[in-house]
Symmetry: D2
Subunit: 140 residues, 4 copies
């Protein structure tokens, strides 16, 4: 049974796009199971994609837009940001971070800000934390 499962995963792996820090397009998943899908990055560094949160928004999918950037001196150090407008909820999340290797695995490490309405005080409106995204169908 385990052999079958591993075989199936390998087959998926062969057909799947192999996301990494050189080519960010594809699916990435964070600790909580949310999925960052990067559909395209154009030559102006504009990122388009969709985001599926695992909590708080009923499993719906939302558009995202963002930027990729890196300097000529450090072409391997990819920086990126992306934002989601939680339509119907009034809030917005902006992730900011970089793609790097930890323990031989490419991953996107981000910190994020989420701003929302309906709080007693304005100073309560922004929450923060971090998320690390790993390739959804890694090649290894």
């Amino acid at each position: 049974m385990r052999v079958l499962l591993i075989t199936a995963l390998l087959l998926i792996g062969i057909g799947a796009h192999s996301q990494n820090c050189k080519n960010l397009t594809g699916g990435w998943q964070n600790e909580l199971g949310s999925i960052l899908q990067i559909d395209s990055i154009n030559n102006k560094g504009e990122i388009l994609g969709v985001y599926q949160s695992s909590t708080g928004v009923d499993g719906k999918t939302f558009d995202l837009q963002g930027y990729l950037n890196y300097s000529a001196d450090h072409p391997d150090q990819k920086n990126l940001s992306f934002s989601v407008r939680w339509k119907g909820y009034g809030s917005i999340t902006s992730w900011t971070g970089y793609c790097y290797q930890l323990e031989d695995r490419d991953q996107i490490k981000t910190v994020w800000h989420l701003v929302r309405s309906g709080k007693e005080f304005d100073w309560e409106r922004v929450i923060t934390n971090s998320s690390t995204f790993k390739p959804l169908h890694p090649s290894r």
Copy 2:
């Protein structure tokens, strides 16, 4: 002399667009003199504009993209985020915040993350702080 100055300011005020939390399009300036110019916000909440930083990038102007959002329950509480890709520098800044009134003045209060390359450690790559933007040509 003071009367002349006030008259001049009033005349400028009449012609100027009056940016506020109901209509965010127009120019906003932060504590350091940087200018956030919001050119358009479409019906999907997508913000387009340009950003002119007062420090660190030789006075150049950069495109920005972002989102505006608010909930049906709190239509007066406008949330927004916007990002700038510092082309040629390798870095990206993402501002996240809200428009609100403090001391009778509409202002955009943001916290931001800036990610860059070329640091000794990856954990040094993100800096953070806050910026408050006030209308560039206030009507009063």
Copy 3:
């Protein structure tokens, strides 16, 4: 009545310590009216004091502890952090920042994290924003 109050404030002002970036002990007030009172800083850089929040905790006063630090190369650039344990509320706030001059006034610019309980998701537990503290009884 108002005259008496102003007279009293002036008298307090005369006796008051003039807080600045060279000598941080004394009272500092932020945009929302909360008061940071730094009582002492010992030779290990340990800060002790009290904090009175203007919102959310019924005007009560809370102990604070923190650190002051600066490098030999930049003795004028004072860094500090301080934390408040909101006894009875379950939460904690940590401010981190520096003392600097803006528009000829010494001020403490901080960003803060506040962690609390009782949220639907753990990722909602940390809020963030900034506060700038100015001398409570400035010498001018």
Copy 4:
């Protein structure tokens, strides 16, 4: 050889304190190998301990002070903060977060601010990111 190593670890484990979200005293290690050692937490919620960073400060050990707090309504949701004054470096780091379970393991999830001197602009002085600490000698 591997057997010997595992035996040694088990023996250490037997004698070691089993850190968890109910009893935070003991050693915790983050992704980068830095060690948070919580020596004591008194009945005012004051934390004392030492911190050994894996990068940037030559492996030296530094004192830390912090707070633990939780509300009567949610006694299982432990909030904490702690700070380190990097003596000789001029900087300070403040971690803020909570202890919780992820994948059946107790861990301390934090976001942090680090403030330092010697930058071209004051707005560059605060860096941010996250760290997750896991028990150094887990009982399982």
